[in-house]
Every structure is written in C-alpha cells, then in structure tokens.
C-alpha cells in the first residue's frame, strides 16, 4: 500500500490566527494526506526536530508577522539527516517577502487567498517527482 504523504503543520508565530491553517489542513486530509499538527510558538530547532521525529515529507508553516523563523528553518533543513522535507510557508505574506523566502530555500509560498487545490496539487506533484528520483 502506498505510504501516505505526511505533513507537519506548525504555527511558529505568536499571533494565534488558525482559521487559514485549519482550512488548509482539512483540504490536505480530504486529499488523503496525513497531517500532524506540531504546535504553536515553536522555534526553528523545535520545528526541525519535530519534522525528523515524525518523518514527514512536508513542513507547512502558517505565519502572520515576520518570517525570521522560516528563514532559520530553511537554513537548518539541509543539515538534517535523511530526506529534506518540502518547506512551505502560508499566511499573510507580502509579495515582497515571497521571492526572498524562496531564495533562502523555502520551496513555495501560499499566501492568504491561495487556492486549496493548488496547494494539494503542488504537494502531490513534488512528492511524485521525488519518488521518481529516488
């Protein structure tokens, strides 16, 4: 049986908005993925440790504010043993920040208003590519 795609979701910001993440998580679950909620106000070390422990394919950060922790996670990921998960950022991301995040190693940014279908499709496509290349 094919292994389900595992997604770790985290709210790293102190700002506690959760509606966006709840809606995205539901869409991912509906699409057959396993979504593990890692918690709130985690720092970069805690996030990468959780990703390792849970052996996830994707890390999804839901952020409202500034993105320092996303940059730190992007820096830590290549040092992880095993397969580096996809790193995705969602929330209120100004257009000016998107390019900067991607240049730093964030795989994709889905800012507020992004279509749920596009997030699901992106994850499926990328995970399929990886499976092919293994």
């Amino acid at each position: 049986m094919e292994r389900k795609i595992r997604v770790l979701t985290v709210r790293p910001s102190l700002d506690g908005h959760w509606r966006g993440l709840a809606v995205v998580s539901a869409a991912l679950r509906d699409a057959g993925m396993e979504v593990i909620y890692g918690g709130t106000a985690l720092n970069a070390d805690e996030i990468t440790n959780a990703a390792l422990q849970e052996d996830v394919d994707v890390i999804g950060l839901s952020m409202y504010g500034r993105f320092g922790i996303a940059y730190k996670v992007a820096k830590l990921l290549p040092e992880m043993l095993g397969n580096r998960p996809l790193l995705l950022v969602g929330g209120t991301v100004p257009p000016t920040e998107v390019a900067s995040l991607k240049a730093a190693g964030v795989d994709e940014v889905f800012s507020a208003g992004s279509s749920l279908d596009s997030i699901v499709k992106y994850i499926f496509d990328k995970c399929a590519d990886r499976a092919k290349n293994e």
Partner: protein, 542 residues
C-alpha cells in the same frame, strides 16, 4: 424543469425575489419596532439619531514605538476621526508576555508590528503626550481581557496625574474574548474564567469611580472573522455579556441597572451582505432590550438600549486588486449607517497586504465623512423601517440569534463553550462551509474567483513600521531605565499587594493602579497573572 438552488443571505436565511405587505402582516409597531429611542429600540437607540449626533469615526491605529502610535493618532484626529483607539503590541501586550521571555526574544523583529508596546506608565505618557484626553473619547489599548485591567490602570493613572477626574473621562475598554481566546489564541494565556474575573472587577470599579466610562465592549467582530456567521455573531456576543451579568449579579453588590449600561456597547462586523447586515443591527437591539428587560428585570433605558460599533471589512478584504476594498468598505459602512450604529472603523484598503499606510488610513476616514455629509442618509432615522423585506429579515435574524443563544446555553454558557473548544469547532465548520462556496463559485468574490487579473493595475505601496529589532532594543532600554529609577521599596510593596489581590477576591483595579504608579511594568504584571492563574491552551481543530 430543474429546481434552482434556493438563494439565501450569507448567513443562510432563504430569500424570496420580492416581499410584500403579506410578509409583515403580523408586525406590531409598538411591540416590534417602536420609534427610535423607545423600546424595543429596533429603530435606533436615540430619537433623532444622526441629526442630533453623527456616528463616531473611530479607527484602529497603532504600530512601532509609543511615539509612532501617537503621531498616527494625531494624524487621524487631524483628518477628522472623533475618537482614538490605541492598538497594543501583539507580541507583548495582547497576552501580557514578558519582553525577556524566550517566546518574544526569538521574535524580536515583530515587536511593534501591529501596535505599540506600552509596557509601563511612562510609555503611556509618551504615547499620549500632547493629546487632550479630557476632551476625547478613547480606547486605551485594552484590547484583550488579559491586558485590559493593566491598560486601564495606566490610562486612569495618567489621567489622575494630569489632574483629570476619572468621573470626567469618556471612552471604552474592549476586553475582547473572541480575539484572545477564539480568533487568535496565543500560547500561555490566563484561562478565560480568570479573564472574566478581571474584567468583572474592571466593570465594578468603573461603576463606582468612572461612571462615564464604558469598561467593556464585546466585539462579535472577531467571532465573525473566525468563521461564525452574522446571526451567530449576535448570539455569542450576548452570551459573553450574559457571562458578565451573571458573575456580577452573583457577587451580590450591584443591581442590574447599576452596571448594565457598561455592557450595552457591542461591536459587529458587516460582511458584504448589505440587507442582512442592516437587519443584524436592528434585530440585535430588539433582542438586547428583551433580554435585559425580561430575563434580568432591567428598567433603566441605559440598560435596555444597545449601542453598536462596527469594524467594516477585515476578512472580506482581498489581497488581489486592493482598491476594490474601498468599495467594500463603503458598502459595509453604508449598511452600518442604515442599521443605526454609534461608531465605526473602516478597515484600510491595504489591510490584506500591510498595516495601513497614511493614505489608506485617511481613506477610511473619508469614506465615513462622505457618507455622513454628502449622501443625505444622516437626515432620517431608520430610513428602511417599514420596508417589507427589511422587517421580515430583521424578524428572521432575531429568531436565529435566539436559537443559537440557546445552543450556547445548552453547552454550559459562554465560558464553558469557549474552554471546551465547542465554539472553535463551530467557527471552523462555518469557515469550511464558506470556503467550499468560494471554491465552488457559489459565493463570488471579485478579483479572487471572478474577474481575476494576472497583473495588478495598481501596486499598493507596502507600508512598514519601524523595524522590530529597533522597537525591541529601545523598549528594553526604556524598561531597564524605569526599573533603575523607580522606588524599589514601593515597587516591591505594590507587586506583593497585587499578587495578594489577584490570588484573592478583592477588586483588582486599585492594586493594579497602585502597581503602575509604582512603575511596575506590564511584563512583571503579566508574569504575576500567569503565576497566580496558570495558563490555558485553546483546543483548536488542527
């Protein structure tokens, strides 16, 4: 022939294509409507409404250091707002977090993004320098139940230091449970029931010492922004008020008419369903009057008369084609005015992208001024009164709100429904339902799922406040200076006194005012609150 799907309001009330006298055949003018300024206040809380006094232009504002917040408040006052709101820093004040805590240190770049860190009485003095608070209506940063007592203590202490009697102060607190515990619950908050205790203390204190001040204002706005629909918004707002009423009555010191005026100002959020939003205001007033009069035996008109503030726009603002949000702000504000609100803030058109630029913030003021002064709508009270459609819709909204209020009661009342996670699950269910309708196209959002444009024709200038690291560094330096310069013995005594009072049943406000005058910081008070009450994590459907 295929049966077409029923058309409903955004909150689910089925709509006919046209309404006639038959739809209001049972409407009784005296019982169901009354003139404006008369029970049941359906048509408005005051007889002459806007001819006697226009609604207050009351914009949320704040970012950066206290002096930055001061400058934006002065700008908005200069351009015509008639009251000011001090938005408190999210990173520190919302949850009364210590600036030295790991959580805040790791995110120092975010200090001052959404409000200024007013972490001591001196910072309040900095923020209000040159602002004549004795002549102004203010919300002094009291956004959450967790920070409201501290923020009020600072504002009241500052007033006293300026020789202004608390009896002459005008303004309002918020103490928004929906913001703190439902919409954006942070980590390690004091439990909701302790938030309730603190704010009941504030209410009792204001009744005795600042009778012109409105200590809380329950904004259903954030309940709606989290996903609950417009009708449920009324119910949860009133459920919150009921929690206050019942606790204060339980304490046995005040009768309903002694304090209910302090609860009779609420907030709602128009969500682009024009007529439903109007019906929501009217239904809420009628419902509040019945609730206070029939369930609690209130007799004073100040108790039974509901006043409403609106936040226009928020989650209905789009990132795409941001100038469209000016139109949305206008539609919502028009509905609010036709619904008879007492004050309003229109979210700036760049809200989905950044905190407001000066231009966008001023636009929000202008939107209100144009409606007030150019459109003629302020000349007649409740101009839609008697409309077959609006009266029928008002009835249906009211019925739905009573039904949902009962559901909350069945779940143990407001605090229980909140602490158990039931309200979060309800909000989520509604949010998913809305999301599905947007995805399917059943609900059209111009620029998002209709009339999309690949390239924006107008680039919003992205406003940025002072860098967070600078706000962090300067704020820390100032707090260290306060600690160096304050009288250590009085500080220690005031802190011990506050701890004693928090742990007991005495009213917290005198001890809180003494503490801020002794220059105890918000960080120290926050730590003390957590030490005494413990912390709570919201049970989120994630």
């Amino acid at each position: 022939m295929e049966e077409s799907k029923p058309v409903t309001t955004i909150s689910g009330i089925p709509l006919k294509t046209v309404y006639t006298a038959a739809d209001v055949a049972n409407l009784n003018y005296t019982k169901d409507l009354g003139n404006p300024g008369h029970e049941p206040y359906t048509r408005g809380p005051y007889p002459d409404m806007y001819r006697a006094r226009l609604w207050r232009i009351f914009q949320l504002s704040g970012f950066g250091l206290p002096e930055d917040e001061r400058e934006r408040i002065k700008l908005l006052l200069h351009h015509g707002e008639t009251g000011f709101i001090m938005e408190p820093d999210l990173m520190t004040l919302y949850g009364m977090y210590d600036i030295d805590s790991r959580e805040v240190r790791e995110r120092s770049e975010e200090l001052g993004m959404y409000g200024a860190p007013l972490l001591s009485l001196r910072e309040y003095e900095r923020a209000l320098e040159g602002i004549p608070i004795e002549n102004l209506y203010a919300q002094p940063g009291a956004a959450t139940p967790v920070c409201s007592p501290y923020c009020h203590a600072c504002y009241f202490a500052l007033a006293e230091n300026r020789g202004i009697s608390l009896r002459n102060l005008r303004g309002t607190g918020e103490g928004d449970f929906f913001l703190s515990y439902l919409a954006t619950p942070m980590t390690k908050l004091i439990p909701p029931e302790d938030g309730l205790r603190l704010n009941c203390d504030l209410i009792e204190f204001c009744v005795q010492n600042a009778p012109g001040w409105i200590p809380v204002s329950v904004p259903g706005t954030n309940a709606r922004e989290t996903g609950l629909n417009g009708i449920q918004q009324i119910s949860v707002t009133f459920a919150n008020n009921i929690a206050y009423i019942e606790e204060i009555l339980r304490r046995g010191r005040l009768g309903i008419d002694d304090f209910a005026y302090g609860l009779g100002g609420v907030g709602f959020c128009p969500h682009m369903d024009f007529f439903e939003d109007i019906a929501i205001m009217r239904a809420a007033r009628r419902m509040w009057c019945k609730l206070l009069r029939e369930r609690y035996g209130a007799k004073d008109p100040r108790s039974t008369r509901l006043r409403i503030h609106v936040n226009v726009q928020g989650s209905t603002s789009t990132r795409q084609q941001p100038l469209n949000n000016i139109v949305r702000g206008t539609v919502g504000m028009l509905a609010a005015a036709l619904g008879g609100v007492q004050s309003a803030g229109v979210t700036a058109f760049d809200e989905a992208i950044c905190i407001p630029s000066e231009q966008a913030h001023i636009m929000s003021v202008r939107t209100q001024q144009i409606l007030q002064l150019e459109s003629g709508i302020a000349n007649v009270a409740d101009p839609l009164g008697g409309s077959y459609f609006v009266e029928d819709l008002t009835d249906k909204v009211e019925k739905g709100a009573w039904d949902y209020l009962q559901e909350i009661k069945d779940r143990g009342g407001f605090i229980a429904a909140l602490e158990s996670g039931w309200l979060h699950r309800e909000a989520f269910r509604e949010a998913m339902s809305y999301e599905r309708k947007v995805v399917s196209g059943e609900i059209k959002v111009v620029g998002v799922n209709f009339a999309r444009m690949e390239e924006e024709t107008y680039q919003v200038p992205v406003f940025s406040a002072r860098p967070g690291e600078e706000v962090y560094r300067v704020t820390k330096e100032r707090l260290e200076q306060v600690k160096r310069e304050r009288d250590p013995r009085e500080a220690a005594a005031a802190l011990d006194n506050l701890r004693r009072v928090l742990a007991g049943e005495e009213n917290v406000m005198p001890a809180m005012i003494r503490a801020v005058k002794a220059e105890i910081t918000a960080c120290e008070i926050g730590n003390l609150q957590r030490e005494v009450f413990g912390t709570w994590e919201a049970p989120l459907p994630l």
